[in-house]
Each structure stands twice: as structure tokens, then as C-alpha cells.
Symmetry: C2
Subunit: 406 residues, 2 copies
């Protein structure tokens, strides 16, 4: 904490959010991050993955005619005319006892349900005639050979996996998960679980980052904490460029502090595409390309990080998988008090939703992006567009709910 | 496949679904399956778990006053009167350069943002006065010591975990996950991945069971496939009773086939509470108590299994965790054709939803519960109450959407 130092860092220029997001997604696409890649996996390990290729039935399901009920497989002609008052007697050899799912081999072509037949000496009595195919599941009834089981772009739900296995598919092609490196920076950071030290705080952003990115379909590696010394971050970044990450994320260090070396480093080693986004929280977001690899600088305040991840990374995954990710329910309510916003900035206000006799009341939570509690206790997010300076009290506003469960 | 055998099995009595569910949940509660149990875990391993006890801030967050902006920590009194036209000069020692998050130790009580100060020989010039506390985050501003971070019953979201760590909580009490054993039965079954054999089918129900139960907050162990021989299932059940499962689920074998030994076994070893539920699909569901342990018999057809799990196990987890699980969105549309239903039976019709110029059209999918494809390609489920025999074409009906992603 010595004397003064030269303090001239500034944001390059605050980019509007939509433009920044377009620039980020465009560069990712150009660099091949959003180019679809695929890998083959065991289908029972594909839960939640997205099909890169259509899965077709290799064998029909069911593979052969089988009983749809518990009873007796018979030749339907042998039962013609049978009725409760005049049952048909079938001698042994003219029927097979079957349970649901058992094969019904030729010449048998129907099943008499157990309720419609009785055992008698030397055979059975059939009390109701059955038609050809009755109570028999035809081969391929569920999936004929060659039928689409999972279309390209479809999700391997548990039911889809069961259907794949039933149709002879054990290996399937899924879209590869993009691999993200998360580099936490800051001399004040302690590893989660390390003993508390005065003047230090525990690094928790990697936990939030990993959880959200994994849910969106990415793979995350967390780099050890990098203290605020330019040489160290540069070395970490150079090492990362040697590995095969699709996106390198550097957390904190993209603001204007003395320890904020990321913009300078990205500029020096590559090209800085933007530094500073006109949104709140989340302003200190930067993006650049280093060694042909996209590098995203994320803010260090947890609420800012959360907003930035949702504004940049979530759409990246949606574009990669070509499928929308879950959104919170939209709720309309009356604003409890006037909300001010900076002209030209997209603001994300954390709000509580309170049910009153007159409908939903939207209550903005006080406190800035430094307060994780505003996010933790929020029911939803009110998005204030750039061109809006304030929203008057009692205005009807739309809020996106933040799920309380995970 | 020898001669005839005695075939006298019948369902005990088809119970209405609501009554069967009440009986199941009531017995689970009595047997202690729904009694809340808790365990202590590392908070960074608690993602998605439910808090068994309230988590309070052990240390305030932030732990000490710290800079809310990049700039210079000062004594606010030293800046009084400063303005751009008449800056205040502060000699070295009267300020500390700080970055966001750095401690602001006494006697300093405010931060002059880097934009409002300039470096000059021997010190800094402050161009705008700051008030006491300005641009400083007070200790405990986010969470004061003792504040609730996660209430009992709350979910450990990524944000909640970050807040726990920031407030000095490394170990937390979570509700223990109920442990379920899944016993697949059937001589015709092959392990998933085993080579195809004529007359056999791959066992896939355990995959569906595990995926859904884990998502609902349970832990699943899958027993090896038990062929349809009564001695074998009995031995498996006796072994299971020695272990500490909260619920034992036996899949298939609860219908009326020759291989369906479950009802008889449960009756002989304990008490059969119901056998057969007035719902379709899912009729062959049974429930009993053996050795003080709840035993649920689930149907073998995948669609029936899916319905039965959602009607019995999902509410069990909701009751245990005292929190509703995710439901599909409700959609209202016009029925494309008349739907028939058995009086006294709750039917779950798989439907497609088609958007037309005149709104949503609800198209029932043909085919019975033996067709997994009806579930796989369904957009939603239309529930037909017991007292309804048919719903006319064009009637407005409510459908619960089946999520297409996982």
C-alpha cells in the first residue's frame, strides 16, 4: 500500500449490450467455438445430451410379435365361434401360456386373455373368440426398423434413452460440450474452505460459474487463483492457449483498479474487441481474441458476474445447441416505487414479488451489485431498457422469475 | 413353455388413484420414510440440496469496511470543500490507493473514486469532497453477523453457496436423500449393452427410474435383474430388508401373469395394502409393507412406469422436502377428436399440441401403454378424471406439457 501510482485506466467505450453480445457471438462463431462438434457415447451415459445425428431403430421394437396381455397364445382360427355359453376346447400343443411381453411365435397369431380362458383336463377352454393379431403387439409396433427414435437436435431424455436401447442403439452421436476455462484473479482471494484471514475473502465465483455453465451444457475447468501480478496472469493465459479450451474466461481484473491487468494484457497479446458494456450490473465485461481463441473478461462482483453470464454465455450455449434454454416464468405486476435508471444503460433490477389483494406487487430490492443478498432474496429480475430513464410507481411491469430451486 | 398351469390370479381390487396415493404416502409417513433426516456436508458440495437447518452468517459479509470503487481511501473530513475548481491536496499518508474490495482501515472512512482524484508531486489532488462512508461497503452490508443466509427448507443454489462461503459457512446441514432400491424382474430381460438375443429385450426401466428419482432428490441403487422365479425375488427382497433402503421398488411382476409373484410374495412376507390402481396407464401398481419397510410394485411397461412414478414417487419427494417439484406448463387447447375413457379410471392420454390459426389443437396419440413412442413424441398429458366417460371433439381441455429437454 505504498505511494500513489499512475491511475489512467479507462473503459475503452461502453458498448450497448445488444451490440456487445452480437460481437461476442459473432466472434465465437467465426473462431469455431460455435461450430458443431460431435462425439460418440454410450447411450445410457447420454442423459440430457443433445443428439448430433438422428438415431434410427436398428431393430424393430418389439423385435418380434409378442403378447400384449397375460394369457394364451393361440391360432385365432381355432377360437372362431367360441363364446361363454359354447367355449372352444384347445388341446395341449394348440396354445402356449404367455405373459405380457413373451414372444408369440408362428403359427400362433393371437392371445386369449387369462380372463377369457379356463384350464380343463388336457387343455384349455376358450370362452371368447379372438381375431388375428388380437392382444398381440406386432413386430415394430412401437418403432419399425429405420424409424426415427431421436431426431438430430433432440434431447436424450430418460425415455429417449430407453427407446434407443429397445431399438438396438447402444452408441449414439451427441454434440460435444464446449470446454470453458475459468481463471479467478485477485490477490485478496482464498480458496473456498481455506481458513478465514483478515483482509481476504473466499473465492466463490468459480462455484457459480461452474454450476450455471454445466447446467447450460458446458464443461468447466477452474484454474487456481491468480494473484494480481501481470506476469502471473500472462503466464496462465499462455498456458491456457496451449490447451484446447473453446473459451477462456478471466474473472475480475477487467475494471479500472490497479490490479486490473486483463484489458491491457488482451490488447497486448491479441485484439480487445470491447471493454465495458452499457449494462448494470455487469459493466466491467470485456472480450477479445488472443491467439485465435476467444477470451471473455467477467466482472468480479457476484451479481455482476451472474448478469454477465446470463447475457453472454447463456445465448452462446443456446446458439451452439440450437435450442432455447430454460427461462424464468414471466410475471406482470405493479411497481411498488419509482425506479431510476441511467439513460443508455440496460439495467437489471432485482425485485421481490408480493401478492396483494389487488394483484402482484413488484418491489425493487435496495443495494447495488456488491450485494449478493439482493440476488439471493430476489424473486425476479426487472429489465429496464436503455432508452428508459425511470419507471413510475404503480406502472405495470413484466418481471422474469428467478427459480428458487435448482 | 410346457402345459397349462393354474391361472387364478386377480387384482385384489382396483383402488381409486387418490385413495391409493393417500394410502402409500400415509404408510411412508408412518414408517418414517418421510420423516426428515439430515446430514452435514461441505457447502460447495450442496448444490441443489435442501437446507435442513437455517444457515446464518458466522462472520459479517463483507467482514470489514472495504472499497466499493477503485480509488483512494481517505478521511472524509480531509476532503471537505474540495471541488474541481479548488481541489484539496492530500499528502502521502493521508490516503491509500485502493481497488474495489480492498479493506478501508481506520482512520479512513471514505473512498475518492479514481475519476475524482489526480496524482501530483508528493500526494493526490481530490477534486470532489466525499461524505463519511461514501464509496465504502460497511462491514456486514451484504449479510450482518447472524443474518439468515439460507432459511431451513431453502435450496442451495450456486448463489446461496457463494453467500454461505462469504459468511464463513463451510459445513451445512441438508436433508438426507431418501434411498430407493430398484429391483428389475423378468426372465426376458437383458442388461443394457448386452448383445441382442432373440426372444429377449433390454432392461431400460431402471434408467428411467434412476433419472427421474435422482432429479426429484432421491438416491437410487439398481439391483441386478431378477428372473421370474419366486425363490429368487424372495431372496432379493430379504437381502434388501437387511440394508437401509427407505423404499424398495420391484418393477414388473405385479400384473396377472405366471411370472407375477410380487403380490403373493408381499402378502406372504408382510401386508399387501393395495394391488391394482384405477388408472391407465399404470394399473398394475401395488404397495405393501414387509418387515416394516414400504415395498412398491411398479408396472413394467415404460409408459405405465412413467405414470406410476409421477403419481406415487413424485408426491412422496414433494412431501419429504416440503416443496413442490417442477411441473410442466399448463396449455389449453381444443381437442382434435373425441376421447373415450373408462368410467372409474383416471386416464393419462399422451397428446401432441399443434398450433393452428385458431389456437392450440390437442391431438391424442394412438396406441396403448406398450408404446414408448407415444410418450417420446408427446408434447403433453391430458388427464381424464374418473367420472368422465368421454370428452367430445372440440372441447377446450387443459394439458400439462412434457418437457422436451432434460
Amino acid at each position: 500500500m505504498g505511494g500513489a501510482v499512475v491511475r489512467k485506466k479507462r473503459y475503452l467505450k461502453l458498448l450497448p449490450l445488444d451490440e456487445a453480445r452480437d460481437r461476442f457471438l459473432g466472434a465465437c462463431a467465426e473462431l469455431g467455438v460455435l461450430r458443431e462438434r460431435e462425439e460418440e457415447v454410450n447411450v445410457w451415459e447420454a442423459l440430457g445430451r443433445i443428439a448430433a445425428r438422428e438415431v434410427q431403430a436398428r431393430i424393430p421394437s418389439p423385435p418380434a410379435p409378442c403378447a400384449a396381455m397375460d394369457g394364451f397364445a393361440v391360432r385365432s382360427v381355432d377360437t372362431f365361434g367360441a363364446k361363454p355359453s359354447a367355449p372352444q376346447f384347445l388341446v395341449e400343443g394348440r396354445f402356449i401360456p404367455v405373459d405380457t411381453g413373451n414372444p408369440v411365435p408362428p403359427p400362433f397369431d393371437a392371445v386369449v386373455p387369462v380372463e377369457e380362458a379356463g384350464e380343463v383336463a388336457g387343455g384349455i377352454e376358450v370362452r371368447r373368440a379372438v381375431a388375428p393379431g388380437q392382444h398381440v403387439r406386432a413386430a415394430g409396433e412401437d418403432f419399425p426398423e429405420g424409424a426415427t427414435v431421436v431426431p438430430a437436435g433432440g434431447t436424450f431424455t430418460p425415455e429417449a434413452i430407453a427407446a434407443c436401447i429397445a431399438t438396438g442403439n447402444t452408441r449414439v452421436w451427441v454434440k460435444r460440450k464446449p470446454r470453458l476455462l475459468f481463471i479467478p484473479t485477485g490477490s485478496e482471494l482464498l480458496t473456498p474452505g481455506a481458513p478465514f484471514q483478515a483482509g481476504k475473502v473466499h473465492e466463490t465465483n468459480s462455484i457459480m460459474f461452474r454450476a450455471h455453465v454445466e447446467r447450460w451444457g458446458g464443461e468447466v475447468e477452474v484454474h487456481p487463483i491468480v494473484p494480481d501480478e501481470p506476469g502471473l496472469l500472462e503466464r496462465s493465459l499462455r498456458d491456457a492457449l496451449e490447451a484446447d479450451y473453446d473459451l477462456i474466461c478471466i474473472c475480475a481484473g477487467s475494471s479500472k483498479g490497479r490490479g486490473d491487468h486483463t484489458p491491457e494484457l488482451v490488447s497486448r497479446m491479441g485484439e480487445l474487441l470491447f471493454h465495458g458494456v452499457a449494462m448494470a450490473p455487469g459493466k466491467p465485461t470485456l472480450f477479445g481474441i488472443v491467439g485465435g481463441r476467444p477470451v471473455l473478461g467477467l466482472p468480479g462482483y457476484p451479481v455482476s458476474l451472474w448478469v454477465s453470464m446470463r447475457q453472454f454465455l447463456k445465448p452462446m450455449f443456446e446458439k451452439y445447441y440450437e435450442a432455447p434454454l430454460e427461462r424464468g416464468e414471466k410475471v406482470v405486476g405493479a411497481l411498488a416505487r419509482r425506479v431510476h435508471s441511467h439513460l443508455g444503460t440496460r439495467e437489471f433490477v432485482r425485485v421481490r414479488l408480493e401478492e396483494t389483494g389487488e394483484g402482484t406487487c413488484v418491489v425493487p430490492l435496495p443495494g447495488g451489485s456488491s450485494r449478493l443478498s439482493t440476488l439471493l432474496f430476489a424473486d425476479g429480475i426487472l429489465e429496464v431498457p436503455e432508452e428508459v430513464e425511470f419507471i413510475p410507481r404503480a406502472a405495470q411491469v413484466e418481471v422474469e422469475r428467478v427459480p428458487r430451486r435448482w
